[in-house]
């Protein structure tokens, strides 16, 4: 049996199935580790990896501050957290933080490719039960999740999930476990969607915290991250020069889109926008973007970017009309914004020219440059800054603390947003990174505004 024993590395019979995809979601460290695989001894790797975690610690000062502030109280004493997320240096810092706050943790990976093996190994060596490796098969994947949960003499009372697979597994296999579970913290859009469906169906049997929609996370994931990753993703895949390029961005509904448009405008691109919602359309106009229908500009643009959350926004008819060399990519929510399936026809030739980059070639020689096969560019072809991962991890930790310590009855069997005050707390833990100095309300001002001096400062619905 493996109880608390480390079990992070694959058994010998499980061959390594290294992704040929290059950088995945949590790419940076992984990608350079990979490139030197053949030259580094296992011992060096181990050392290197501890260093990765050490460096990640320096880049996640908010979690370190949380450890310091909450360590005395051990707010997670007695918590038994079962987690299913990407297994990276940043996750390691989170797990160590949860542990420092009193929790016991067992962990699996939420993605078959994203595990940093050295991190998993280092965690195992440090006494954590981690079941994950890079390049799991579908069977491996569920086996790992099961090993996390299904262990004699230990039963989880908190779930930290990213995608809902762990939650789903428990629902399906061990529904009785929910009797002891105090709550679920869910990170992803998909997972949150599943939870709302469970709730609607009256099947959600514990409180769940939707941390994907916390204000801080949203702002960073959408606006600030996309502002940089649209440029980075396009540059890494195509080396395109932005100056003077004509770009059409489909959708202007979320801040993320404003991130894209503003960044490209700042780099000297001429940006057109399409929209279905007149309010967002009017904003695009006032922000200095020509609002058009896709077909008005499709023949002249150099780059097409979808970010609508909608499906079939760019269809074969549009693709047929694009000019030679046009770059097509997706920064939206789903993978169906570009109708990629329509390009899988005999008369078109696909040519993989670089990782994540396909040339689709028309009979007349016209080439369309399709990125990430229409999947999300920012996840596939760019990296997620540590700062954003830090916000995510801190939010997850606080959500666990809140659910675990909430007095009976505060949370029902429903899906909740992180309380505004904790959201604000996450933000405040990140201010020192910028040497930023917050102003405090005077008593008189707090009274005038009808606020508590320590927040929350805004209503819960405020974005």
């Amino acid at each position: 049996h493996c109880g608390h024993t480390a079990f992070a590395m694959p058994d010998p019979v499980r061959p390594w199935k290294l992704s040929r995809e290059g950088p995945g979601l949590f790419s940076s460290a992984a990608s350079y580790t990979d490139s030197s695989d053949d030259e580094t001894s296992p011992r060096d790797k181990q050392q290197k990896n501890s260093k990765e975690i050490e460096i990640a610690e320096q880049e996640m000062p908010a979690l370190m501050a949380l450890r310091k502030r909450a360590q005395g109280e051990k707010p997670l004493a007695g918590a038994k957290v079962v987690g299913c997320t990407h297994i990276t240096a940043q996750t390691a810092v989170l797990m160590e933080t949860l542990s420092a706050l009193g929790a016991q943790c067992r962990w699996a990976a939420c993605n078959i490719y994203s595990t940093q093996n050295e991190v998993a190994a280092a965690l195992a060596e440090g006494g954590f039960s981690v079941f994950a490796w890079k390049g799991e098969s579908e069977d491996d994947f569920w086996w790992c999740i099961d090993r996390c949960v299904n262990v004699e003499g230990w039963q989880p009372n908190m779930i930290l999930d990213d995608g809902g697979d762990l939650t789903h597994w428990i629902y399906k296999k061990y529904p009785n476990m929910f009797k002891k579970i105090k709550g679920i913290v869910e990170e992803s859009v998909t997972g949150v969607h599943r939870l709302y469906q469970l709730s609607k169906a009256g099947k959600l049997c514990v409180p769940a915290m939707n941390v994907n929609d916390s204000v801080t996370k949203q702002k960073f994931d959408n606006l600030y991250c996309c502002r940089e990753s649209i440029l980075d993703g396009l540059k890494r895949t195509t080396d395109v020069m932005f100056g003077g390029k004509q770009v059409v961005v489909c959708g202007y509904g979320e801040v993320s889109r404003k991130g894209c448009c503003a960044a490209l405008k700042a780099m000297g691109s001429i940006v057109y926008v399409t929209e279905i919602d007149p309010i967002c359309a009017l904003q695009a106009c006032m922000d200095g973007f020509r609002l058009v229908k896709l077909n008005e500009v499709i023949r002249q643009v150099d780059i097409v970017i979808t970010c609508t959350g909608n499906k079939n926004v760019v269809v074969r008819e549009n693709l047929d009309r694009m000019k030679n060399g046009c770059i097509v990519c997706n920064m939206g929510h789903s993978n169906t914004e570009i109708d990629v399936a329509s390009l899988r026809t005999p008369e078109l030739t696909w040519e993989r020219v670089r990782s994540q980059v396909d040339h689709v070639i028309w009979p007349d020689g016209k080439r369309i440059v399709l990125l990430a096969e229409g999947r999300l560019l920012n996840l596939s072809c760019s990296t997620v800054p540590t700062f954003v991962l830090s916000i995510t991890a801190t939010t997850q930790a606080l959500a666990l603390i809140e659910l675990y310590n909430a007095p009976e009855g505060r949370y029902k069997q429903d899906v909740y947003l992180l309380p505004k005050k904790m959201d604000e707390y996450v933000a405040s833990l990140h201010l020192p990174t910028f040497d930023a100095h917050l102003t405090e309300l005077s008593d008189e001002q707090a009274k005038y505004l009808g606020l508590n001096k320590n927040g929350p400062f805004k209503p819960n619905y405020y974005r």
Copy 2:
């Protein structure tokens, strides 16, 4: 009695009390009309004024489109609207629109200075009952409101208010009128606040529509308007060059603030921000502004701008430390953000150097340049673009239509936001101004998104 007879010009015994303040809220037309007062014959004025309304019509295509679209149905047939707003060319276009849609109107001014006399005269000549002139006394003001309401043989069934004074007057003097009133449309922050208080106290006896917080209006009033008016207001009052100036902006909580900061940054100013809310603070950091406490930079900045909604954000102690020539102004909500009262002390000399501009002089000769005596800069020292007035007026018209036509029971005795769909309709009426072309959802997409093809496209709480 005066029934439907025009009564717009002051009686002879009421002397003209022209504001020495220069441009008031609705300034543009007013200001140049004034400057030629001594040179223009009354006949010319009359003609000029019709022209003002005519020009305003060209600049408010949304209302003109509404007239065209809704004229057949006369959705306000039978409506008797009593209104209390600024009386300007733009209001004239609104009143004529309401009339075209079937309503009868009686109107008073919501501000003693802002009436454009020629507009009032032209409306009167056109058969509207307008009770207002520029430079009313306090008594005049209430007399006018009363004349609007208190008329034999005519009883209002709709209220359009801007500030709540008209509503208050009816509550106080003619509470029985509410029996026939179908609803109140309120424009201003103050008026909306009063309505919420009435509602809380259980005293609101008809449905009320808060149009101040409609999405379209908010975005324009805050972000897009302030982006331009901060520059305009500072330039017109002080001729300051923005390039290289150090500016501290207090508050980063609303889009309006982002308007200020972004505009000044674009003009080459170095902008510091103060904040109390860590989430907004983090956003200021990510947008490239140093987050400071006011006292860290107060000695070095050239311009101090408040936009917090809070009180005593800039106090005497801060003012004492500012450097010579520092400009101080308020773009927030209240007039108490700068503690102007603290400057009314014997050792300081006040010198009015221009309309809306005071030099406050310290004993050592240091001068602080105080704008609009701490009142809102954008209202006092800049103009409100016709486009924004058009959005406001269209929103008011649609709110009246909605309340007047809503089936029994849709609205209770409470304060409501404009339904999302009507908000979107306001926006769509303004898109042709920008030659903007909206994309339509396909049936398949609408189904995928779970939306009606004609909207609403976002949940009501979406901002």
Copy 3:
């Protein structure tokens, strides 16, 4: 005779010819002085005026620093400067500076409207010989210039001119005076052009310094000034909202144009550019502007701005095709960029709607909004910031010092640019305004770069 006696105020027989134009070139002080004409006693005006000079001194720290640094040496001892410039508080600070450095000064105005009478009076009271008043006739103008020059017992040895009228007058009437004149400092484009023509014709008989083309002045007049004055000029005249407006800017050849385009882009306008030079055209593309021919966009734009230095850039044919309400203005060099003459035809009606704003009305009712009758918008409808005036005045002072003290033979009978080093000195005198800290070269670095540690740091031709 009036020798050094003050003679600043007009004689009684010279009626006041106040401009109805509103703010002229040096408007700010003038405009608010005027508005209170009827309310302020002469004594108050006098006091107010000294205060204007006092305030100007605070805003021109570079000249004050120059006084301090150069006062011991009196580098202008013995200099007899005859000047012909705008007579404003800023000029007063310049004259007092020249005086402090040892010079004697006699002054006339270079423009019949721009004199601030109170400044002239204060200068006269202070012992300066100033011949100027606001609203001179053509005859007055030349009479004043003559009185400056033609005085018994005093002969100028330096000329400071702005426009070349003073220089021209001496050439025409007192050519012998040039025997004693050490040099001419000329400020304006026109004046410099005249000097180059004299030089080409071999008729320039003293060295002349072209201060108009000094690097510092050029950058500020073109880029930094225009960036702000395009917005200010448009706003003050038309109250137009920039967001979402389509604008075509003719010409992308000089930094000033980049100022215009960048400022409008930052405010949310959609900017198109026309160009004749492919290099500038390519830059417009890379900066994110669509490069078009005027007729491609003329029907759709809301604003047309010329800045080419060329003539007939916007002609009647273009004007005929513009849409209703289109604003047309000129930010270029000449007054012929817009063919305004072509609009003076019987079928078009002109209507002056505000100072500097004409509506030109087509038979079908279409209105074109023409600003400043096609003259330079930035000079006619905006203000020149004191900071720019400070740079100009400091440059003039240093040019006088250079020419007056240059060793025999350094300057021939030709037109010169200000030596790079003095240009750099002007800049350095203005850095303290921004609390800017210059880095000094180490000996080793200076040697590596082949530079003197104190400059000049760039070759003379560097822009």
Copy 4:
């Protein structure tokens, strides 16, 4: 002998010396080709490579247009061009263009790492004499150059050089060859510097064209390229998030620097600038950057970027004071801006964490992130867009045409800039890429401006 025979692939005895540096100067294609080395058959490579050239042709429409326009005239008929540049797909397009215009070509590589072997092979197969492969030794390098020049029965009459090594070799080994050589076209800063030294020393025996300083190339290399490559270089090496980062940029003297500062500001960084030249310093202020001495901010900044052209701008003392994690890089001219040598001391540990990225670790654990060991970031860690390569290649082709066809006596034994008109021609060939439409001068306008309708439109010294 090998005459026109292909000789592009290394002989068997020359081992492959693949760079471990990852992307070199012309990286993009090379880098992904490499990564799949083990999977692609030689035949596929060959095909892939022709495709690379084909794709490059599509991205260099200016050269293709030149081919079309000049092909009839064969302006290089009889030209025997010996070239020494990077050997890439883009160079192949240039060589094929020169050939189409009538020239014979022999080519060597100017860099031992940058050759794309497949391109060299394809050129050889196409009949070009190319002597180059990736990973040459020093000896190989000179051997290749010699093979280019030293061939029986063929003598070059034009030189196209990038770095001056080819020119140097001929000077040293075959000085007599210059008798038949009509001119040298030199691309690089270093090569141009060498030519000016030869010229100064009176040893330049043929005309030389400095294409490095042509206006079009300068603007693109400096401003437009750096604007993008600063972001790209930092992102690819460090994955840093720009928002909220404090950055100090040393030097504000050239447009390139403005590229850096503007790009970072647009991404939400807070940028400080250091300068030695007061004119540039004043511009930094007006552009909205705080001007500081390095030591004022060195403790607080997250990123330090040098772009001065100076040496020892960042020294050990500065490095000692930086905070943990500070990123240090160079975007300037020389490799000595950062005193990297001072970091090679025993108490500091160097750790290579990724290609081009070193952690330098202080005894207390502080890490500085040094990029490209202080060499140019944009060359080492970013890619050069094809568009910029297209401008360079077109400029080279036109310079060859100009020198080869210039009438006797137009060019002496000196270094020349490309004539303005040809520079403008290069720009005009690139406008169709942006669908940009140039305006033509009317006869009347050309006369007014004193210009030829076809240019040149600006004086030669205009930048």
